[in-house]
Amino acid sequence: MLGIGIMKGLVETARNFFGSYTSKQRLTTVQFPDERLLQPEATRVFPFLVYDTDDWEKGLRCVACKICEVECPPRCISITKSADKKPDYSGIYSGKPQFYPEKFDIDVSVCMSCQICVEVCPFEAIKMDNAFELSTDDRFGGLLWQKERLAKPNSYYQAIHPTDAAESDAALAEKKAKAEAKPAAAAKPAPEKAGAATER
């Protein structure tokens, strides 16, 4: 009969109306700033630079090889290589002094979160972060992140991406073991990029 469908619809909306006050399951809205969903482990938003030990400047893994700068599809990374070398503070380059980035800038507004920089880095030096609230009221300076802001400790990486961090640590340990075994066998310094294929 005419009007039955309307009645059914009205009953449905009434059920929603009263149901939303009694059952929490109906209200699926997450009230964002107050409550947050746990992010999946694979979440990636923007890269950061990993450093070991507790001093970000000395412990930075990056050796300014500029592979990521070249590979970055939107060209949002800008690196200046240092003139001098710094001592191997983090202990992953078998004690040899390394170049370091004098300037390491990434433009937040240009980065497209593709993770290619992470894939190509032979030194496990750049990784993806899951922090996503990157808005700023300074549209030029605030969106160009310098290395001070990009540097984050390895423990942070282990906290946000435990599985990937474990793989990364294992790869570094393997590389280190190889590098230590080589001078014992050949009695000459191992090439810098021994075992560079750090598969993830």
């Binding site: 009969m1 005419l2 009007g3 469908g5 309307i6 619809g9 009205l10 449905e12 909306t13 009434a14 929603n16 109306f17 149901g19 939303s20 006050y21 109906r26 209200l27 699926t28 809205t29 009230q31």
Partner: protein, 393 residues
């Protein structure tokens, strides 16, 4: 203080104030004291309704409504109002400046005019006219003019389309609106709203037996009146004139800032006014619904009934999708009009038959019969089935 005194408190205060003002300005004071409360109460009711509507619609869609501004989000209209006030007021270069400017003002003004004849409580009506209903519908018709002014003055295709739709829709639905209230006029024998309310007073035991909604023709008339009222106030599912998915915002596409807010105010004021008229015509006006509840002041009952009808509007809006233009017109002329005509016929029978169960049945038969027959005929032998989708399943 007796219940009588509480009931009449506003009337008494007004008389006292008028009595103590100098003789020369007494008429002006009397006028001001009648009009000013309406100018304050109904816009504040509008503010409360917007937030309640948004919260209610949200709950119907299983989400929270606005809940950030103030306790439970109830200060939201304040934030909206400030936002509307500080926005830039843009007038298109091609617009007819005068018409464009006057349209929202005229809309709100005519909406306010309608309140002059609605009794919001015992002895509480601004203008107790003999032909109050005629005045009400005349003012309602002026609303259409202001909407067309907005659409025409904006010099925008969307606005004009919206205005054309609005005028077509409002004129079509004005017919069933007026015809369904004619049934009430026939039984009450008066066009005066206060007389119509008086005719519905009295109780049978505890029940408000004389409310027109409790008669077969009154029940049908009330439902038809409310459907037509939904169309008149451009509310969903009849919100074609401002269908945002088709014609942006219809006739107020080119309005911004406070003029836009005025359009919203006008729309809601129109809805309150027509709901108030429905309360007056069918739901016993300011009378209490049960005889032992008469100690509660009459104005509280009027506003309670008004808000109940508004809740109905919101419920319908949360349920039904928008109609198509041809469906809208078909519904008005093929369903609403015959139904209202048979309601008038039924009211005529009711007038001349002795009261009793027989009268009830005899009056109900033509209405139910036409409803069923029209329902079948308009479906045209088509059957509504669950639609299956070839690729989406």
């Amino acid at each position: 203080m007796t219940t009588q005194a509480v009931d009449q408190i506003f009337v008494t205060i007004k008389h006292w104030l008028v009595f103590h003002s100098p003789g020369v300005i007494q008429p002006a004071v009397s006028l001001l004291l009648s009009v000013l409360p309406l100018l304050i109460i109904f816009p504040s009711l509008f503010a409360v309704t917007t937030v309640l509507e948004r919260k209610g619609l949200g709950r119907m869609q299983n989400r929270y409504g606005p809940n950030r501004v103030g306790p439970y989000g109830f200060l939201q209209p304040l934030a909206d109002g400030i936002k509307a006030l500080i926005k830039e007021d843009i007038v298109p270069i091609g617009a007819d400046k005068l018409v464009h400017f006057l349209a929202p003002l005229l809309l709100v003004m005519t909406a306010f005019l309608e309140y002059a004849v609605i009794p919001v409580g015992r002895n509480m009506v601004v203008a107790d006219m003999d032909s109050a209903l005629v005045f009400f519908f005349a003012a309602g018709a002026a609303m259409e003019v202001s909407i067309f002014m907005a659409g025409w003055g904006s010099r925008n295709k969307y606005s004009l389309l919206g205005a054309m739709r609005a005028v077509a829709q409002m004129i079509s639905y004005e017919a069933p609106l007026i015809l369904s209230s004619i049934a009430v006029v026939m039984i009450a024998g008066s066009l005066s709203t206060t007389t119509i309310v008086e005719r519905q007073s009295g109780f049978w035991g505890v029940w408000p037996y004389h409310w027109y909604v409790f008669t077969p023709w009154g029940m049908a008339g009330f439902i038809l009146f409310m459907i037509a009222a939904t169309a008149e106030s451009n509310r969903s599912p009849f919100d074609l004139p401002e269908a945002e998915s088709e014609i942006i915002a219809g006739y107020f596409t080119e309005y911004s800032g406070f003029k836009f807010a005025l359009f919203f105010l006008g729309e809601y004021l129109g809805m309150f006014a027509i709901s108030g008229l429905a309360v007056t015509l069918f739901l016993g006006g300011w009378a209490a619904p049960l005889s032992f509840l008469t100690f509660i002041p009459s104005w509280i009952w009027f506003f309670a009934k008004l808000m109940a009808l508004i809740a109905g509007f919101i419920w319908i809006r949360g349920t039904l999708p928008r109609l198509r233009m041809d469906q809208l017109m078909n519904f008005a002329w093929k369903f609403m009009l015959p139904m209202t005509l048979v309601v008038i016929f039924s009211a005529g029978i009711w007038r001349f038959m002795p009261s009793g169960v027989v009268r009830w049945v005899v009056c109900a038969i033509p209405i139910v019969l036409l409803y069923v027959l029209l329902g079948r005929a308009l479906m045209g032998g088509r059957k509504l089935e669950k639609r299956t989708y070839r690729f989406a399943e």
